[in-house]
């Protein structure tokens, strides 16, 4: 490195600022969750794991967390076939109205979440689906599906079109070609897309807020409901559990497909 000193000072200063800003909330929550006191403060008032023990006992938080996992799983299970097929179709085949379709698939981004949330609430209310877990999973899938499609499209568009012809030439009928050649080739995109869908559904707040009631409340909504009454360190502890879950998903992603592919597929 032969950069002038002043330049490297500026760059390092920016890196440090960014690192602090990005990690500060996590560090504060982590610190606050370890407090031995009864009120949420940072830096913590003595160290203890008592609040973790408490949330393990608290049935409402645990149930809300399990419901969030169920919502995220339902969302991911729907997104995998739908997003994979749509992504492959959009990138590989001459689909009619392809451009219009792409814009249509972008709609969930352009509509504010509060708008889609109210729309889905009215729709599900009309159909009498409110009060169940699975419609929340479907809703999370609908609003986040573009991420899945993008991840798959990125993998599919770098696919050599001759690969499928080669499979046909080897004697593989179209369905076998799809399962033996096309799907394995887009698998990195499917994996990164589905993990992304899982995290997004796990964290989804606004739409869940509108679609849940006391029976189906998910963890982010539960936390929100709690802080409206009294803020106790157990909320910090459950947030840390939440963050750890997300970190585990990222670690899994890195092991399965490599983070570089995930970052590029966006």
């Amino acid at each position: 490195m032969t950069q002038p000193l002043s330049k490297s000072i500026v760059i390092w200063a920016m890196v440090i600022v960014v690192l602090i800003v990005l990690s500060a909330p996590t560090i504060v929550v982590l610190g606050a969750s370890l407090t031995s006191g009864n009120i949420i403060t940072f830096p913590p008032d003595g160290l203890s794991l008592q609040w973790y023990a408490k949330i393990a006992m608290a049935a409402d938080l645990r149930n809300a967390f399990l419901r969030s996992l169920a919502v995220a799983s339902i969302c991911t299970l729907i997104a995998i076939p739908v997003g994979t097929l749509a992504g492959i179709a959009l990138s590989k085949y001459a689909v009619r109205f392809e451009h219009a379709l792409q814009i249509y698939l972008l709609l969930p981004f352009t509509i504010p979440l509060i708008g889609s949330g109210i729309g889905l609430m009215l729709l599900f209310g009309e159909w009498g689906l409110l009060g169940q877990i699975w419609p929340i999973g479907v809703a999370c899938c609908v609003i986040n599906l573009p991420f899945m499609i993008w991840a798959v499209t990125a993998s599919a568009s770098s696919l050599d079109p001759d690969l499928e012809l080669a499979a046909a030439n080897c004697g593989a009928p179209p369905v076998a070609t799809f399962f033996h050649v096309t799907l394995p080739a887009v698998l990195p995109g499917v994996i990164s897309g589905s993990l992304l869908m899982f995290i997004l559904a796990l964290n989804e707040f606004l739409v869940s807020l509108l679609l849940t009631d006391a029976r189906t409340v998910t963890l982010p909504v539960q936390i929100y409901n709690s802080i409206r009454s009294i803020i106790t360190p157990d909320l910090a502890a459950i947030s840390v559990v939440f963050i750890v879950c997300a970190a585990l998903v990222i670690a899994l992603l890195d092991r399965l497909v490599g983070l570089d592919i995930f970052l590029k597929s966006k």
């Binding site: 012809l165 080669a166 030439n169 080739a185």
Partner: protein, 377 residues
Amino acid sequence: MTSQAEAVAPRSSLPVAVSVQKVDMTFDGFQAVKGASFDLAEGRFLTILGPSGSGKTTLLRMIAGFQRPSAGEIFINGVPVSAAPPHKRSIGMVFQKLALFPHMTAAENVAFPLKMRRFDANTIPERVKRYLDLVQLGPYADRRIHQLSGGQQQRVAIARALVFEPDLLLLDEPLAALDRKLREEMQLEFRRIQRELGVTTINVTHDQREALVVSDEVIVMDKGVIQQNAAPAQTYRTPANAFVAGFIGVTNFLSGKVVAVEGANLTYEAAGEAMQGHWSAPGAPQLGATVTGALRAEQIRLAASVAELSACQTVKTGVVTDAIFEGERIVYEIALTGAPGTVLRAFDHDPVTHKQFAIGETMAMGWNARDVLTFPN
């Protein structure tokens, strides 16, 4: 003219493996292939040679079944195949970019066609091994595709195309991306394997040298039309038209009007000079018609003075405009005296013992009338 290859295996004695009958291919009003017809006998190695956009790859893809002819029919072993999808044809293909399956090992790639074509599962490992050995890749069976070198990947692709013993092997310019040395090595490898297995093969290339080296028969295509279908030596020595003459070999063209005709020999005026040539097209030359004479660079004899070339029927002088040393030969570019703008290329194949001419020197060139292949314009 009988070529060596034809003397070994006369075309008529073997059953026809591939028959292409008046095949057309039109994309959005553009005719990529026009009225292509040829027969290929069993066990022969055919190369379709042509510049890019000549329709050669389209023709190959129609034979493979990836595209359906707009008109005409293709027969494999006497059966019309135009309606059959590619996976129902017994054709092995080596793709230009190989199209190996990246998530499989070398052995899994080679086993894939056997699984898809429902070979007895017990015989698959033995067969895969035999074909990997054939392409000298036995020790690399369990490597992933990206762990293999370019040449090794070529060999996997060949093994995958041949392992199920197809009726026909198609090669879609698989050697184009290799460096020259590896390419020439693989050309001989293709030839060795093809002879060993006796599989009927159609190769597509724009590399004239490859076409001459590997093939029993060469089809030259241009603008979607088959220009010539003959043995390599015949294609080289008696090109069917000026395009073929120019596409294969280093050829000088001299055009002009016919002033005298005597049987197949004719005299025409090119660049202000009288030129003797040999009529090389069907029919007879017409007085006053414009013709093009094709003269191979290696047919021009070079000397310091006109007197040394008394054995040649035509002797001209010119000024050296460039001398390119290529190691085993020197390529001279010589501007014809009295014909500004006409530059001929000629070779000196013995640059060690012969006198070397410098740029600007005047030299004599000689050739015979039969070496000037004359075609209608």
